[in-house]
Symmetry: C2
Subunit: 110 residues, 2 copies
């Protein structure tokens, strides 16, 4: 599902520090909308709209639990992004060691 329009919305969604902060919170564990609002320093209504944007980009999905709505990171979409980046980052070819180091540092070799 990696078409032009989709990449538009994904990259656009990532082009905002507060939205990225929400995703960073989600990377750890699913969070309710209200929690994400605080993470990003936004009011409820603004957070809700930004979350809808992230959802439209496929970067997260929601599930209801009682009165709360939980957001979950959709890791699959990162594959599209990674694919696009890899495509244009030709320079990574033959430098997988370097990327491996990156991944190791960033993820703590887990």
């Amino acid at each position: 599902m990696e078409n032009e329009t989709h990449l538009d919305t994904v990259f656009y969604a990532l082009a905002d520090a507060r939205r990225r902060r929400m995703l960073e919170a989600l990377a750890e564990s699913p969070k309710a909308v209200g929690d994400l609002a605080s993470s990003a320093g936004l009011r409820f209504s603004a957070a809700s709209k930004n979350i809808a944007l992230l959802e439209a980009a496929g970067l997260l999905y929601k599930s209801r639990q009682g009165r709360q709505i939980f957001c979950h990171m959709n890791f699959d979409v990162w594959k599209d992004v990674a694919g696009y980046v890899a495509m244009h980052a030709k320079f990574w070819s033959g430098r997988l060691n370097e990327l491996e180091k990156y991944l190791g540092e960033v993820n703590g070799n887990d």
Copy 2:
């Protein structure tokens, strides 16, 4: 040089299919502004503005050759993007083989 604001501008720059098309053209070889305009299906003035945006994001740099201005892909910035993607794509951990395959397919194992 991977700060929040920089990522904002980089992702924003990537969030437009025509700008990505220009970058795709540049990945192959440096191109004059006029050539990029046609690649993206834009008039000169519009192309010039989008190129300025890509330049501000650090995705390309310019060099003058006679009356033409050539744009060159700046591969280094992709490292920032790749780093960010890798950071959030935890799921890639332990799946480097898969990524390797990706890179192989995409770059034709060169």
